[in-house]
Amino acid sequence: MPDPVLESARHLVGESLTDLRSSIEGLPVEALNWRPAGDDSNSLFVLATHTLHATRLWLCIAMGAPLPDRDRNSEFQGMADDAGDCLSLVDELSEDCRAALRSAEGADWAARRLTQGRGGDAPPEVTAAHALIHATEHLRGHVDQMSLTRRLWEQRSPAP
């Protein structure tokens, strides 16, 4: 019998990754780098980069897979140079996320996992369930910020 927690996460993460891609598809570089509320807010490019690196990391923690390299601070400083490159980066990181969820057919959700200092202010050790839920909710939270940011951009700059 498939692991119901893992199956559910695959479905929900998959939906969120699709929505994330939709929120940047077809936008020019200027839109990808626009910060809707000034320097204290994040651009679509920053949100996409940060969200996908974080999701990949937390899914790997959840699944007990090797942890990818990550420079969290740099995720908030990036700028898109090319819209196509941005979509390619999103596709590559999204596939890594899906692959992490395919890396096993189940997990012990009570198992303790080390975060190895890569999860921002996360505790040094969490349960696999904590890591999976964090990956899922953190991704969804930022995807909907991206959706709202795109709507604000489109309102600011109506299509000709």
Binding site: P4, S8, L12, S41, I133, V143, L152
Partner: protein, 160 residues
């Protein structure tokens, strides 16, 4: 042993309660009821009311508790007289949500649940319902946080 999903759910709810409080506290009623990109977007008051009512509903489905009354369309018409009123509402709903994921519960995450309001019979595991509830509340908390940033920027520009 405490169910790791229930423990993680409580952590997400407590963190969201703190984040939501930060989005609500100290701003006037105009800000709480402001829609950042017109009528197609939602105010902080709507997002708080809808997200918590929905989360309580989905958590009830997840843990097989009695389903609370809900009138979904009216959640999107909610308004707040002031921050205190909205914080009182959200505080009560958070308590309801936390009680649903109390550590004393035993939940079979593979148990099949259905959406009691769906026109067609939709079935999913209990695990899907709890993950959906948590990602949904984080999704709307993210929008609340961005909406407050946008309001504060708008207010600063008006006073510049």
């Amino acid at each position: 042993m405490t169910d790791p999903l229930l423990a993680s759910a409580r952590e997400v709810l407590r963190r969201t309660r703190a984040d939501m409080r930060a989005s609500i506290e100290g701003i006037p009623p105009d800000a709480l009821n402001w829609r950042p990109a017109g009528n197609d977007t939602n105010s902080i008051a709507v997002l708080a009311t809808h997200s918590l009512t929905s989360t309580r509903w989905w958590l009830s489905v997840a843990v097989d508790a009695p389903i609370p009354d809900r009138d979904r369309p009216t959640e999107f018409e909610a308004s707040a007289r002031d921050a205190g009123e909205l914080l009182a509402l959200t505080g009560g709903l958070f308590e309801d949500c936390l009680s649903l994921v109390d550590g004393s519960r035993t939940v079979d995450w593979a148990a099949v649940r259905s959406d009691p309001d769906a026109e067609q019979d939709q079935q999913f595991p209990a695990a899907w319902a709890v993950l959906h509830a948590l990602q949904h509340i984080r999704e709307h908390e993210g929008q609340m946080s961005l909406t407050r940033q946008l309001w504060e920027r708008r207010a600063a520009e008006r006073h510049a």
